[in-house]
Each structure stands twice: as structure tokens, then as C-alpha cells.
């Protein structure tokens, strides 16, 4: 990646900082808040996902009108849609059980570490083990 734009990494870092700050600000980085939402004790969390999706969605509309190609990578703004198959349902169900049990999802988990939540390392360790297990299985399955 020697020919990457010099601002690529700074932009990635800046995007991540905003992302993490927002997750912490919304308190979504706290598993208790996520569990309160899933147990219908506090519906506020819906505004995090809704607000974020609206802003991110606006970017997909605005970006192609601002530039012909992305200024940092030179890539075109294409809709790279993930194909729908049974895995989306199977994986979504497994993810849902894990999310409902722990109140932790990947992005919020990283952010939780940032707000000083050391016990979240249990969840992050679990995520790496889980991702490794599925990689191990799928590296051996005939169909990738």
C-alpha cells in the first residue's frame, strides 16, 4: 500500500475517533444501557442506530454529487451490496443471542474499553475466539 494517499490513515483514525466518541456519548458503550433497551426499559438506544444510519445514508447520497471519485482512495462510490443467503439469517441469529446475552457488539465493545471498562476484555476475547472458530471451520469447508 505504498501508493496510499498520505491522508488515508489520518482520515481513518479521525473517522474512528468520531465513531468511538459517539458510541461513548450515547452510552451505547455500556452493556447495561443496551440490555435496558432490549428489555424495553429504555427505548432511547433506537435513536443511536436511527440517527447514525440516517447520517451514514445521507453520505451515500451526497458523496457521488460532491466528487466523481473518493478523494483519498480514487475509488468510485458504488453500492457494494452484500449478497443475501442463508448465512445472513444463521449468523444474524447467533449474533442476536450473543448480543442479547451480553449487551455487547463489536464497535460498542471497542468503545467500552476506551471508557475504562476493563471487564469488557472478556467480551472482546470471546469475539476473537468466535471469529477464529468460524474462520477455522470455513477455511476447511469446500465452499468459501
Amino acid at each position: 500500500m505504498a501508493d496510499r494517499h498520505p491522508l488515508f490513515m489520518p482520515l481513518v483514525l479521525f473517522g474512528g475517533v468520531l465513531f468511538g466518541f459517539g458510541l461513548a456519548y450515547s452510552h451505547m458503550a455500556r452493556p447495561e444501557v443496551v440490555l435496558d433497551f432490549l428489555q424495553f426499559d429504555d427505548f432511547g438506544l433506537a435513536f443511536v442506530m436511527l440517527g447514525a444510519a440516517v447520517v451514514a445514508g445521507l453520505a451515500t447520497v451526497v458523496a457521488p454529487r460532491l466528487f466523481d471519485e473518493a478523494p483519498i482512495t480514487g475509488d468510485r462510490y458504488e453500492r457494494r451490496l452484500k449478497p443475501f443467503d442463508r448465512n445472513v439469517l444463521v449468523g444474524g441469529t447467533i449474533f442476536g443471542v450473543g448480543w442479547g446475552l451480553s449487551g455487547v457488539c463489536p464497535g460498542a465493545g471497542y468503545a467500552s474499553l476506551g471508557i475504562g471498562n476493563l471487564p469488557i476484555l472478556w467480551a472482546l476475547a470471546g469475539m476473537f475466539v468466535g471469529a477464529y472458530l468460524q474462520g477455522y471451520w470455513r477455511s476447511r469447508s469446500p465452499k468459501k
Partner: protein
């Protein structure tokens, strides 16, 4: 007999208001937006798990992420730093959870498997995917949201707290 808690919930669905959630969500979306406008790459948080494993594992499944693993590491570092910035400015100190370690570890394990099998998590599917009106992502979000609600309700009904 009707559970009095139901009335309380119906009376106050937003005990902490909505400003904190809405503002936080807009900032999260802004993070995705500047990243996407600059790079045309939709940001997702869970691919980091597989891409980082490619540093230490030779499994063929992880090799496909070698070209993106360095920036995914930087993006995740940014998430941690951004949250730390919030903790320093607004939280005045560290915060820690009371959720049992076994719930965190087992939940994390299932999240790690599920997000990778299901091609995305709450950010990849829930924010960028839904934002770009991807049918696959909308189905994915509905699936894990409903399953998570049922799971959390069952766990709470079994008396597991926190």
C-alpha cells in the same frame, strides 16, 4: 393482575431522555460519513476481528483481509481513543460494567461467530447497510434485533442480573 411495571414502562419509555442517544448517534454516523466520503469504503467494526487474526493465523479465511488489516487496526484504535476522549471530557473517570464476566465472554463468543457468518454487525449492517438501503442488511438487522430482544427478555425472566 397487571404488572405495575408495565404501566411505568408505558408511561416513560425514555427515562434518560433522548438527547444523549440522538446526539451520540449523529456523531457515530458522522464518523461513518467522513470515512465514506473520503474513501468510498463503508465502515464496519466487526471485520477487524478477522483481519487482525490474519496477523497471527494462517487460516485461509483470514487471508482475504490482509490488504485492509492495517487500516482496520487504525480505525479500531480510533474508536478506543474517541471513547477515551469522551471519558476524559464528560465522564471524569473510568466506568466499569456489572454484567457478569461469563455473560460477556459467552456473549462475545457468539457475537464473534455470528457477525462473521452473518457478514456484518450493528455498524456494518445496522448503520452503513441500512443507511444505503441494502435489503440484506435490513433483514440482518431485523433478525439480530428480534433474537437479541427475545434472548435478553429470557435472561432477565430467569432472574439473571445484571
Amino acid at each position: 393482575m397487571i404488572d405495575p411495571v408495565l404501566f411505568q414502562v408505558a408511561a416513560d419509555p425514555f427515562p434518560n431522555g433522548i438527547a444523549r442517544y440522538a446526539i451520540g448517534g449523529l456523531i457515530v454516523g458522522l464518523g461513518c460519513a467522513v470515512f465514506y466520503i473520503g474513501t468510498a469504503i463503508p465502515a464496519g467494526a466487526s471485520t477487524f476481528l478477522e483481519s487482525t487474526l490474519s496477523y497471527v493465523s494462517e487460516q485461509s479465511r483470514f487471508r482475504q483481509y490482509i490488504s485492509s488489516r492495517d487500516w482496520r487496526l487504525v480505525f479500531t484504535l480510533g474508536i478506543v481513543l474517541g471513547a477515551a476522549g469522551y471519558a476524559l471530557v464528560f465522564q471524569q473517570g473510568t466506568w466499569t460494567t456489572d454484567v457478569h464476566p461469563w455473560r460477556l465472554a459467552l456473549g462475545g463468543l457468539l457475537v464473534g461467530i455470528g457477525t462473521r457468518v452473518g457478514k456484518g454487525c450493528t455498524s456494518g449492517h445496522g448503520i452503513c447497510g441500512v443507511g444505503s438501503r441494502s435489503g440484506t442488511s435490513i433483514v440482518a438487522v431485523l433478525t439480530f434485533l428480534v433474537v437479541a430482544i427475545v434472548t435478553a427478555q429470557i435472561v432477565a425472566a430467569l432472574g439473571v442480573t445484571p
